[in-house]
Symmetry: C2
Subunit: 234 residues, 2 copies
């Protein structure tokens, strides 16, 4: 059955890129880019990623297997507009997706068909519509929310996400674009509960896959407090 | 050889407690407490934690082994003042540490000796002095930074931390007290690099232990970009 999944590389402090580049200068020279390339280095070093980009070499390891599996599972993608714009030129005539991509945007644009099975459909009716269109296109495979992080957060906040895989990179960036930012619209004493279903360990990154449960109240849980207020493991 | 270690339970979005409780009301009824007890639930359910608190029962599982190991490794503790104040009454006459605790504070206070080997020494000469005093007291064992999160962050920012173990709890809290907050004093395009050395998976929490490398520049790494700007795994 088709699931809605998302995958994101984040720093240990939760950033998927450095601070947002807003000027006219070169994105590649920006702090946003520096953070982005640090947290995605494990992927750009992996053979499975490089093959999809048409690049030679790369490591054939756990990280590469994770990427190959991620590509294989996706029957269609949902993507944010900023990511789609940024990728349009570098992805070229044969983008790595090899599946229909639905771009959430406010700007209408004609469908763009690329080689290798990739197409970009610009959806102006909102996130729910983009996910539904991707679901219809995905067949038996999954709908993958490709990013950016803002879109992953929106899909999670909207209760549309079934599975989240975080690639947690062992670096603290201190600042940047944060996956779990303030606009999740959680009530006081409410959380979004998940269950880790798979953890893969590599020197460069820890891959943790979660099933998303949903919103739930944070019940006071003083089973261990004996009426007190503090534990030492905090 | 004595290492300086820290352990902290955090939500998937990096909070070790809910939003800070500042009023006169009951801390136990606050949102700070609700977040705190959610992320420490795995510990309060564990037999090894309950034994140290003098409580019966609990789970004898991976989580309990992690706690037992953490207690056994610590020859002395460094602790923040707010945590020490909050724990003083509930920890009672035989606190769970069974080792000297050095409290970083601005308020001088006479040394407090409790049963079972625990003592509290109030250090007003700053963090570095507290860590050095704890190191002298720890013998062959480690100095454990017991918390709170603000103190862990300060120890990391000061370059004093050798090892960090995060207990990553599968809940998104959306707001609260964040371990990796803005005051890490990192330069632009600079990060703190770590290496994961052990990952333990349990349904309630993922335990990741890191060796702390140190500050390093985020070098532009476009090995995988082919001159482009975006990858699909972002």
């Amino acid at each position: 059955m088709t699931k809605v999944t998302a995958q994101l590389s984040v720093s240990l402090d939760g950033f998927y890129a450095g601070p947002r580049h807003t000027g006219d200068g070169d994105w590649m020279a920006s702090a946003e880019s520096a953070g982005f390339f640090r947290v995605t280095r494990w992927a750009t070093d992996a053979m499975a990623w490089r093959e999809r980009q048409g690049f030679a070499g790369g490591e054939q390891d756990t990280n590469s297997e994770v990427i190959a599996e991620t590509f294989a599972a996706a029957g269609a993608y949902v993507m944010g507009r900023r990511m789609a714009d940024g990728g349009e030129v570098p992805w070229g005539e044969e983008p790595p997706f090899r599946a229909p991509v639905f771009v959430v945007t406010h700007r209408p644009r004609q469908r763009l068909v690329r080689g290798g099975g990739t197409s970009f459909t610009y959806v102006t009716e909102g996130l729910v519509s983009a996910v539904e269109q991707a679901r219809a296109a995905a067949g038996d495979r999954d709908v993958a929310v490709a990013g950016g992080g803002g879109l992953v957060r929106q899909v999670l906040a909207a209760g549309l996400l079934d599975e989240l895989e975080l690639h947690i990179v062992p670096v603290v960036l201190g600042t940047g674009l944060r996956l779990f930012d303030a606009d999740l619209d959680l009530a006081e004493k409410e959380g979004i509960e998940l269950t880790p279903t798979r953890v893969l360990h590599a020197p460069q990154v820890t891959h943790i896959r979660y099933t998303v449960g949903g919103r739930a109240p944070l019940l006071l849980d003083d089973r261990g407090s004996g009426g007190g207020a503090t534990t030492i493991i905090n």
